[in-house]
């Protein structure tokens, strides 16, 4: 059992594929549970539940193939590839997901309108992607103001897109 677990978790690629397989099994289970709630077919031999069940079944099967393949492959036979030109920065990746979520919440709860919220977002994203270096920020701040307010004017006045405008602080911007 320990050897099997080591083969599934011992190297980066194995870990990734094991997590993928678990995700697929969980997702397929969810799809099948939802498909089972559908009424039986009344128009055609298949009905609405057949395609989701089929796809979920295939996804589970492929997930199992992934797992079995790694169990059958001894450790260290396929080492993880190393790319010397890049360095992983998971905190930045997390920040780049959190920033847009905060941005959407600000607009959804009408705390800020599109233009000011987008200005803040562009500055935040530029700070994350540019590691908050001074030259990047000097360009990004005016760029953020021009892009956000310019886009807002262009899209609302010429393309008639009803962007969120209400702001808790000012009523409207």
């Amino acid at each position: 059992m320990h050897a099997v677990l080591r083969r599934l978790w011992g190297e980066n690629r194995r870990r990734g594929d094991t997590l993928l397989a678990c995700g697929l099994l969980g997702f397929s289970g969810l799809v099948v549970r939802e498909a089972n709630r559908l009424p039986p077919p009344f128009f055609d031999p298949l009905g609405s539940a057949a395609a989701p069940r089929l796809v979920a079944g295939l996804l589970s099967l492929l997930g199992l193939i992934l797992v079995i393949r790694w169990i059958m492959t001894p450790l260290h036979t396929m080492p993880d590839p190393v790319d010397g030109s890049l360095r992983a920065t998971p905190v930045s990746a997390l920040a780049i997901v959190v920033a847009p979520i905060v941005y959407l919440l600000l607009m959804q709860f009408e705390l800020l309108g599109f233009a000011p919220a987008s200005t803040l977002l562009i500055i935040a994203l530029a700070a994350i992607l540019g590691r908050a270096r001074r030259p990047v920020m000097i360009v990004s701040v005016p760029l953020a103001v021009v892009a956000s307010f310019g886009l807002n004017a262009l899209l609302t006045r010429f393309f008639f897109i009803d962007l969120p405008q209400r702001s808790f602080w000012t009523g409207a911007i």
């Binding site: 690629r13 990734g16 997590l19 993928l20 697929l24 997702f27 969810l30 799809v31 939802e34 498909a35 559908l38 077919p41 009344f42 128009f43 055609d44 031999p45 298949l46 009905g47 609405s48 395609a51 989701p52 796809v55 979920a56 295939l58 996804l59 992934l66 393949r69 030109s85 890049l86 360095r87 992983a88 920065t89 998971p90 930045s92 990746a93 920040a95 780049i96 997901v97 847009p100 941005y103 959407l104 977002l121 562009i122 500055i123 935040a124 994203l125 530029a126 992607l129 540019g130 590691r131 990004s140 760029l143 953020a144 892009a147 956000s148 886009l151 393309f159 897109i161 962007l163 969120p164």
Partner: protein, 501 residues
């Protein structure tokens, strides 16, 4: 045919359509040249802005972007040794060494010229093959369409990068995400998990924006690359003499035909075309040992094939509504968003539109040649632009695009969700191309299968009465089984060699 094509050219040379082709090509070249930005990203991003345009002009713009983006990749492949688009990966093998040896102008000129000729070769096939193929496809029953979609998914999974299992996972996962909401066949709500907003399912545009753009932005934040330094593009003329092209004519025509043919195969992208053309050019070359060290033939083969792939991939999209590559899946969704029904009837219901697309394809190739020849030095300076300036603004465009679809925040949340999913899939080496193709084709797959079974007296065995559908099914099965057979053969050969040695 010639009459319709000349009318289409007359339309394209009117001021506004010509402006869109010019703009699309220039933007495509720029985006294609910047590593990390892709044509798929650009087209998805611009799609919401085309809601307000006439459908023909909108698609003309998007096709021009497609042509430009595939060509632009060669600039960074040659000067940075980083392919601007995946399809230019083979160009790095010979383009960069040639530029390093002090001949950057020659490497760029060969690539640009080969891109033009490859593109035009595919254009000829596009014009000649599309009408008869479309007429042939009109004889198809639901069985043929069902098996063709199946073949597309298997084909892209088996030929796309990395493992076939992961390609299939991507395709089926894309199909699974297309299933929630109101089912077209019987009006049944399904897989909504009680969430009201899911009744309409996941809209295509937020999914595309998430998978192609948002995931790329997360990836850029995750992977801190060393800042690339570009080689000087030189000061000489970016042109190659006509006599030299005559020397390369066989290689260029062969690579153009390979690119077109691989493009026609459903779901197979331009990177495979350039790989196959490069390998073939090497096999036929009198100097194969020079490949990889800055050889003319390598650049010509790779660039002629990847541009020809664009024209080839448009053929199944226009004639059958089956995407020839992931970008064609996006174009297909643009057709749907503009209320144009893709499929064999498109030629009959919107013939002018189809011919205009073909004319735009030719004009975009010629404009690409002019733009790249004249401005390659300017573009070369911009390709090393800090993405901290570009990506945040691109993200705001994505938000607007997703929101503008139906003026609701739900679509923006969907975009972010699919962005995160796309990033994770990319991390575990699940290709995103088949995911998008699966998402786009899921509805056709299910509708055609259910129609086939409704029409059939023998259930699934009804397929035996349809020889074309059977051949599509046979190809799908062969593609599924072939990698395993090949693996066994290689293993046996290795064992034999070990026994001998």
């Amino acid at each position: 045919m010639l009459g319709e094509l000349s009318q289409a050219f007359a339309f394209i040379f009117q001021p506004w359509p010509f402006f869109w082709v010019l703009l699309g090509t220039a933007l495509g070249v720029f985006v294609g040249a910047v590593p990390g930005l892709t044509g798929g990203m650009l087209i998805t991003l611009v799609m919401p802005l085309t809601f307000f345009m006439d459908s023909t002009q909108a698609l003309v713009l998007l096709v021009a972007m497609y042509v430009g983006s595939v060509s632009g990749g060669l600039i960074s492949a040659t000067l940075l040794r980083m392919p601007g688009t995946p399809s230019s990966i083979m160009t790095t093998f010979d383009g960069y060494p040639m530029a390093q040896r002090g001949k950057p102008e020659r490497a760029l000129a060969l690539g640009i010229g080969a891109s033009l000729i490859g593109g035009l070769i595919a254009g000829v096939f596009l014009v000649l093959l599309s009408p008869p193929l479309s007429r042939w496809a009109m004889t198809f029953s639901p069985w043929e369409f069902f098996t063709m979609v199946l073949m597309a998914i298997v084909l892209i999974a088996s030929i796309s990068q990395g493992s076939m299992v992961k390609g299939l996972i991507a395709g089926f996962l894309g199909m699974a995400f297309a299933m929630p909401g109101l089912n077209e066949s019987d009006g049944q709500l399904r897989l909504t998990m009680g969430i009201q907003d899911l009744s309409a399912g996941f809209n295509l545009l937020p999914v595309l924006l998430g998978v192609f753009v948002m995931s790329q932005i997360i990836k850029e934040a995750y992977e801190l690359h060393k800042t690339p330094t570009a080689l000087d593009p030189g000061r000489g003329r970016v042109l190659v003499k006509l006599a030299e092209w005559r020397r390369h004519s066989v290689n260029i025509v062969r690579s153009g035909v390979i690119g077109t043919w691989i493009g026609i195969l459903p779901g197979v992208g331009a990177s495979i075309s350039s790989m196959v053309a490069y390998a073939t050019a090497k096999n036929f070359s009198k100097t194969p040992e020079k490949f990889g060290s800055g050889h003319d033939e390598g650049i010509v083969a790779s660039e002629a094939a990847n541009n020809a792939n664009v024209g080839g991939a448009l053929i199944p999209m226009i004639t059958m509504g089956i995407p020839g590559s992931p970008i064609d899946a996006i174009l297909l969704s643009a057709l749907i968003l503009h209320n144009l029904q893709p499929g064999p009837l498109l030629f009959i219901t919107n013939g002018d539109f189809v011919w205009a697309l073909m004319a735009a394809y030719f004009v975009a190739n010629i404009l690409m040649f002019i733009i790249m020849t004249l401005s390659v030095r300017t573009i070369a300076r911009v390709v090393v632009i800090n993405k901290a300036y570009l990506l945040p603004v691109i993200f705001v465009f994505c938000v607007v695009g997703a929101f503008a679809l139906s003026n609701r925040m739900y679509d923006v949340w969907v975009m972010i969700g699919f962005g995160v999913l796309g990033f994770f899939l990319d991390r575990v080496k699940v290709p995103l191309g088949p995911f998008v193709i699966g998402f786009v084709l899921a509805e056709i797959f299910e509708v055609e299968l259910r129609s086939s079974l409704q029409m059939s007296d023998n259930g699934f065995w009804g397929i035996l009465d349809r020889p074309i559908a059977m051949s599509f099914l046979a190809v799908s099965l062969a593609m599924l089984v072939w990698p395993f057979v090949q693996q066994r053969r290689l293993k046996r050969q290795r064992q034999l060699q070990e026994a001998k040695g």
